[in-house]
Each structure stands twice: as structure tokens, then as C-alpha cells.
């Protein structure tokens, strides 16, 4: 196996709020392989955005290590550290908030070029900016290059954000809900463009979303990691996650999502949870954090042991789950039956 381009090794991250400490990420292990499509999915508060920020080096982990090409990023110095920061770029969710309204598109895209010494004159910068705009299909370039963000539509702004992420010739792009603020009819063109980047520019794409159907479309040839309350609960190749989910949380999630097809969605069997309330991060249940809601809860096991992300005996195909009964090779039985 080649070394993954990015790795999270036992990463935890907490935030302080007054006197309480909120554990947002706990003991996350994650490998990001070169040129793969990796999706992080989960509901709000599951830690997917924090994971993305830790990967991109925008947030240091509270404990654990981030490895870039096998090296702990904290030990990287000078030119090596710069190389890491250049190599991993992030696209934010809100194209209305992430672009400076007082700067033109040309300025927005030139700053990182100058900052990283990739161009030296304004003329060079303009030429490179034009190329970037062409890459993200903002053509004719002349119509866009001197505009300000408010003169662009949401979709166009998000293309500028993508172009900005490309300025440093990154090898990894972390796209955090990059299309969720964009209208349905233009979402797919943005996604398709991101997907083409992989082959055109040889980048690895980490896509963060709450929308499993989008994740499925985006990462059909890659992997999905499902997160719940700060931990990865299931990870594996997209087709097996979507078609044969193993972890109880993944099963419940998939069963709950409406489908854009009346017959299909109305025939869907929903998995009833034992509780609808999501625990607070400050009062996490002991053991498996999903156990108070899990329909297949095993008393004496789930609330005792923190499950580790492991393979299920007898299930092939590279899926790993964090569910003690499953990884111990038990059959799931409904609680109380």
C-alpha cells in the first residue's frame, strides 16, 4: 500500500466554552489516499467540518497526529510546512461569506498567487487568474475577472471559491458542504466539475456533506465515512455503504431519507429509533454514543465498551464499523424482542 497522502492518527479535538469542554472529535483514525474520492457524511454536530479543518491544517488537533505524506505536520518546518499548506486547500460552504466583498475576482485570486510566490508581476497574475477561471468554466473570462462578488450568482461565486482553492496547485481539496447553498439545478454541474478535477489536476477530493444522496453520487468510485457525535462509525466503499449499510446508525440514516420518487419513497421501510433525541456533546452517553437510540442495543455491552472501528468477521469489501456486537461477530437482534 502506498502511503496515504493525509492521515489522522487518533485525532481528538475539543473546544472550550466557558468552563465546559466540548469533545467535538474523539479518537478519529482516517486515511486519505492519493487521488481518491472520500466523503465525510453525518448530521450537524457530528464533527465532519472539524475533521475537514484538521485535515487542512486550519485547526490543530487537541491530541493525536496529522500526517502529510507520512510525516507528522507538527514536525514540518519552513519549506516543508509551506508545501503542506499549499497542498491542502479548503472550499467553504457559504459562497456569500467566504469571498471578500470589497475585492474583485482578479484580486481574490491574485493574493494567494503572490503570497506563495507563484507569480511575480501583475501581468503574470492576470494571465494565471484567467487560466483558473477557464478551468472552473467561468467563461468568457473577460466578463467575470473584474467583477465583485455581489455581481455574481451563487453558483458563479462558488466557482470563484473553487478557483481560489486551485491557485496553489493543491493535491488535496477539502470541500465543506461546497454545493449545499447552491440551487438544485446547478449543483450537479459544480459537482461534476469537482469530480473532473481529480483526473485533470490529479487532486484528491474530500467532500463533506450531510446529504447522503449527493455523497453517493460524488464518491461512487470512492469511499464514504459516516460520522456520529465525533467519531467515525462506519467507513467503506460507497456502493457497499449505500446498498448494504452495516452500522445501526448508517442503517437508520439511510432508511430515513426521502427519495425523489413517489412510489419508491412511500414504500421505504423506516427504522424506528428508541429515542429521537440527539445527546449533547457535553453529556455523551458512556460506551457507544448511539446506544440510547439504537434499536439493536445489547445491554451490558454497548453502554460499557467504546466500540473501535474494525472489520466485521465474514464481511469482506473493506468496510469497517464501530459497533461492538457487530465486530464481535454477533447477529443483530432488536432490543426487547
Amino acid at each position: 500500500m502506498p502511503t496515504p497522502i493525509l492521515q489522522l492518527d487518533d485525532v481528538s479535538r475539543s473546544f472550550k466554552k466557558g468552563r465546559t469542554t466540548i469533545p467535538v472529535l474523539q479518537n478519529v483514525h482516517l486515511d486519505v489516499n492519493r487521488m481518491e474520492f472520500l466523503c465525510l457524511v453525518g448530521e450537524s454536530g457530528c464533527g465532519k467540518t472539524t475533521t475537514g479543518k484538521v485535515l487542512a491544517g486550519l485547526l490543530p488537533p487537541s491530541s493525536g497526529r496529522v500526517l502529510f505524506e507520512g510525516q507528522d505536520v507538527r514536525t514540518l518546518k519552513g519549506a516543508d510546512f509551506k508545501r503542506y499548506r499549499r497542498a491542502v486547500q479548503i472550499i467553504h460552504q457559504d459562497p456569500y461569506a467566504s469571498l471578500n466583498p470589497t475585492h474583485s475576482v482578479a484580486q481574490i485570486l491574485s493574493f494567494p498567487l503572490f503570497r506563495h510566490g507563484m507569480v511575480h508581476t501583475t501581468a503574470q497574475a492576470r494571465e494565471r487568474v484567467a487560466e483558473l477561471l477557464d478551468t472552473v468554466d467561468l467563461t468568457p473570462v473577460g466578463d467575470v475577472i473584474d467583477k465583485y462578488p455581489h455581481q455574481l450568482s451563487g453558483g458563479q461565486r462558488q466557482r470563484v471559491s473553487i478557483a481560489r482553492a486551485l491557485t496553489t496547485l493543491p493535491t488535496v481539496i477539502v470541500a465543506d458542504e461546497a454545493v449545499s447553498m447552491v440551487d438544485v439545478s446547478i449543483r450537479i454541474s459544480l459537482l461534476n466539475m469537482l469530480m473532473e478535477m481529480r483526473d485533470k489536476l490529479e487532486v484528491t477530493l474530500v467532500f463533506i456533506t450531510h446529504d447522503l444522496a449527493l455523497a453517493k453520487y460524488f464518491a461512487w468510485q470512492g469511499r464514504i465515512a459516516v460520522m456520529y457525535l465525533g467519531r467515525v462509525v462506519e467507513i467503506g466503499p460507497t456502493p457497499s455503504i449505500v446498498e448494504h449499510p452495516q452500522h445501526p446508525y448508517t442503517k437508520a440514516l439511510l432508511s430515513a431519507i426521502p427519495e425523489p420518487d413517489p412510489a419508491l419513497t412511500r414504500a421505504k421501510q423506516h427504522i424506528a429509533l428508541r429515542s429521537e433525541d440527539i445527546p449533547r456533546l457535553t453529556e455523551l452517553p458512556p460506551g457507544c454514543a448511539f446506544h440510547p437510540r439504537c434499536p439493536w442495543y445489547v445491554e451490558g455491552v454497548c453502554e460499557q465498551v467504546v466500540p473501535r472501528l474494525e472489520r466485521i468477521p465474514g464481511v469482506n469489501g473493506g468496510v469497517e464499523v464501530a459497533c461492538t456486537p457487530l465486530t464481535e461477530g454477533r447477529e443483530l437482534t432488536l432490543y426487547g424482542s
Binding site: E43, G155, S185, I188, L212, L214, K216, P239, E259, P262
Partner: protein
Amino acid sequence: MNNNTIVLQVENVSVTYRSRRGPVQAVKHVSFDLRKGESLALIGESGSGKTTLSLALIRMLADNARITSGKILYTRDGVTRNVLELSDGDLRTLRWRDCAMVFQGAQNAFNPVLRIRDQFMDTARAHGLNDREWVRRRTLDLFQLVRLDAQRVYDAYPHELSGGMRQRALLALGVLLDPQIVILDEPTTALDILTQRAIIDVLNQIQERLNFSIIFISHDLALAAEMADRVATMYAGEVVEIGAVEDIFYRPLHPYTLGLLRSVPKLSHGQDELISIPGNPPDLINPPPGCKFHPRCQFASDHCRKETPPFEQHAPGHSAACWHMDRVIAVHAELQQSR
């Protein structure tokens, strides 16, 4: 559950906003009707006029908006009234009693310093119901119906409840006065998937029990597929297609509806082949001539660029505004076969 009593008739309604750049035609010549117990979904993208239209239905539009044409007729117990002709007093009774509206992101609609029970009492009193005991019993009943821990929620402050619980409490508040119509603006956006599922189930249940009609506004096609009896697609302020939910999803007539369907991924059934609709929604101050969708439409011809297509019935209960419906039908059939 449905019978054929029509509770709301919208005829040729247009709404214009004043703006510095000139008048904005946010809703144009919209007509539809709503039957008792029915769920109608208004789907469309941002700026398609769906929220403006729903605000017009209860005359809650902003000061710079004007309803320039049309009639909005509510019928209850055999009496029909045009909302556009009601006095302010009559309008106040109509709102919430006949037609309640639950706004987008309404989890945050409760007043944070008042207990939930006081907000229910206030709403009832504002509409002339002073029997506190009746309101208490009705509220607790409704809480049970929306699967809330009734007494606890009744005495709670909003911050003590989760987003999903507040959303359910709000649904209960919406139906407190037994309205005939409830308008829901993006009822599940900003909610988590599992919470969203719970809200959908609760909505279906209370609708079955109380038999009110729902108009819900959404950009989420999957939600429409799940909850709606009928669907209206809006584009650039116009309803471009309306029909039974199966008609819209399985037999679309308008290129925009087809385009939307082709751009949404499904969870099941393997890999999707999706295509975006090219271009951007039009500027409503200077809309394109003819059919407003023509600059983005794969079927557009000279006819489309010159003349606005009429809104025509194609099959019973299924209408659309397009010069090239036959070609849309043919292309859709081909797509279905190639699957």
C-alpha cells in the same frame, strides 16, 4: 381522505415588488386550487416566487410588494371570501384560524423568555378564545399527537427543547385553532435527517387526524415525492406545471420539471447519471421575452423566444406551459427506456 371540496382558489395572482432598479415581477398569473385534506407542494429554486406566493395567500407581503391582479378565494362552511377584499379585522381572523403559516427556520419562532404554554395562551387569546382550560386541554392533546412529552413541553421554555421538539411544538401551535389550511415554508430544511423523518411522520399523522390541507414550499424534490398529493413547479414567478405527484415525477411535461428530475440523485438503484440545467435563473426585472425558461432550455425554438406558451391542460389534472410538450414527453420516455 380527500374529498372534492375546494377550500382555496387562486386565480391569476400577480405580485410585484418595487425596487430601485424597477418593478420586480415576483409572481405572475398564478392559478391553482386546493382541495380539502390535500397536500400541495410548491417546488422551485430560490427566487422562483414560491415564498412570495405563499405570503400573498395570507396578505403578509412586505411593504414594497403589491398584488397587482387576481383573486384568492377561501371557502369554509359554504362561505367564500376573497382575501384581497377583506378588511384588516377580517384578515386577522382569517390568519391562523383559517390559514396558519409556519415559516422557514421556525424552530426559532418562539419567544425565548416565555414558557411554551403562555405562547399558546397568547395565540388563543389574540383570536378571541379566552377559555384557558379548553386551550390547555387542546394544547396537551396536540402535543401528544405530535409525539411530545406533553406536560414537560407545556411548562418548558423554548431553550429547553431540541430543534426537532420546537418544530413539533410549532406544528401544534399552527393547528391550535383548527385551521383549514396550513402553509409550511421549507418545513424540514435545517433539521437533521432523523429529525426530519420524525417531522414528516408527525405531519402525516396530524393531517390524517385533523384533515386540514397543506401547502408546502420546498426546493427538495424528495420531500415533495414523499409528502405531496399534487405538485406545482414554479419558475421565475410562474407555475409552469401542476399535476398529481405521480404525473410530475413519472410523466413530466415541462422541460424545467424534467431538468430538475434529472439533476437530483437517488439513494437507491446504483450509480446515477445526472445533468444540470445550464445557465442561471433569469433576472425578474428584465425577464427574457417569450417563455422565461427558453435561455436554459434544450427544446427552445424561435417560437419560444417570441411567444409565451399558454398554461394548458394536457391530461385531467395535469397542466403545463410549454410549446414543446410532445418532445419533452418523447425525450422522457427515451430516458426511461435507456435505464
